[in-house]
Amino acid sequence: MSPLEWISNLLLGAGLLCLFTGALGLYRLPDFYSRTHAASIIDTAAAALVVVGLALRSDSFATIVRLLLILLFMFFTSPTASHALAQAALQDGLRPWLAKRPRKTRARSGGAAE
């Protein structure tokens, strides 16, 4: 096995570990915000490690470029999605688990309640 393949295996293994940690966290963590945090490990760290690991394995230049473009795209979108999700929950008045005092809930604009 060439050194490149070893590095690739190592990265894929690390990605798998992140994936497993994230999935476990998504299942076990107590509240919405910490679960979002676990999910964001999956779509940032795990996905990036797996993509880089796959890029090292590929022998065609076009494939590597595409994988790196995917990586760049995920680098921007995944954290944004997690951020938007958490912010929407906060605006909706969902309190983090460890927050002591009830947070002043901002009134939802319009009247979504039926």
Binding site: F76, T80, H83, Q87, S109, G110, G111
Partner: protein, 335 residues
């Protein structure tokens, strides 16, 4: 047993679990999101079964468009359903089990999965498509050549169906203003402009938008050589604009792409498609026989015909999808 079987098993388990969860949950928002997940997982399975074009479409349509439409509807209606009473669920379950049993019994007559000697693979048409497409049409992606050339009539029909559905939704939901606005207060609908502190979302989506639209154009015009084509490109282009509408508000999106322009673009695409057909008639060929488009080189004529026809499909699908979204979104703002 190779590695693919294990991937198959994992994906099928996720798919079945999602379907069960979707059937059981009474929160319709959750069900809509699960149906997006369901579509994405089935797209992965389509890739494993070599249907890359289909997977592409399913991922863009199922996880993107359909979910947005469901969420748009849920913003206008209520998002919890009643408990299903046993008088409804028991007969339904019996009929479903009976149907499934009959189908599984029938499936024992089916040839083994992926065998080379099935009637599908043995049919003369298979080799005709795969062997002659390159010489007759010169397009490496056989799916595109079958879609736009060999089965051009069929695709024209499908484009007309998309066009008809867009018109029907426009007739049902109008231009967004119901005749009687009984509710005094405007309700929060899906694409209200997001508050100012969503700066990250605004910046990143503005950064991504040109690339999404560029990617849609790549998918549109690279469909001859790789997976892609008018249907996929249309949905991706519309998704990019829907992202803009969701983040910056419906009014900003309507200023960028006006509904009046969309109402002209939906029939324009169908007219381009049918127009190519009539052009070939006038040039002395059959309807949608692209060979006559170039007097010297039939393959070049085929290229030109496919390009134009896919362009027509792309325009109609983009405009129809965006118009569907506008209709649902504007209905909420108008109330």
């Amino acid at each position: 047993m190779n590695g693919f079987v294990w991937i198959d098993i994992v994906l099928f388990t996720i798919l079945a679990a999602t379907a069960v969860g979707l059937a059981r949950t009474r929160q319709l928002f959750a069900a809509a999101m699960l149906s997006g997940l369901f579509s994405l997982t089935s797209a992965c399975i389509f890739v494993l079964q070599d249907a890359v074009d289909v997977a592409f479409t399913e991922a863009a349509v199922g996880a993107g468009m359909t979910t947005v439409l469901f969420l748009g509807t849920l913003a206008l209606t209520r998002s919890r359903e009643k408990v299903t009473p046993p008088r409804r669920s028991i007969p339904a379950a019996l009929i479903a089990i009976f149907t499934g049993g009959v189908l599984i019994y029938a499936s024992t007559d089916m040839p083994p999965f992926a065998a080379a000697d099935t009637p599908v693979q043995q049919h003369p048409l298979t080799q005709r498509f795969l062997d002659d497409s390159m010489t007759e049409i010169g397009v490496p992606n056989v799916v595109t050549s079958v879609l736009a050339s060999y089965r051009g009539y069929d695709t024209l029909g499908e484009t007309v169906v998309v066009f008809t559905a867009a018109i029907a939704v426009l007739m049902l939901l109008g231009r967004g203003r119901p005749a009687t606005s009984a509710e005094p207060k405007p309700r929060e609908a899906l694409p209200q402009p997001i508050q100012h502190d969503q700066r990250v979302l605004r910046v990143v989506s503005k950064l991504m938008l040109p690339f999404i639209l560029l990617f849609a154009l790549y998918v549109q015009f690279h469909g001859d050589y790789g997976p892609g084509g008018g249907f996929q490109a249309g949905v991706i282009f519309a998704s990019g604009l829907i992202l803009y509408a969701l983040v910056f508000g419906l009014d900003a999106a309507r200023a960028a792409v006006s509904p009046a322009a969309l109402r002209r673009m939906v029939p324009l695409g169908v007219l381009i498609y049918a127009g190519v057909g009539f052009a070939t008639l006038l040039l002395g060929g059959a309807f949608l026989d692209y060979n006559v488009l170039d007097a010297h080189d039939p393959a070049h004529g085929q290229h030109l015909g496919i390009l134009l026809v896919e362009l027509g499909v792309g325009i109609t699908v983009t405009a129809a999808m965006l118009m569907l979204f506008y209709s649902f979104a504007a209905r909420g703002v108008g109330r």
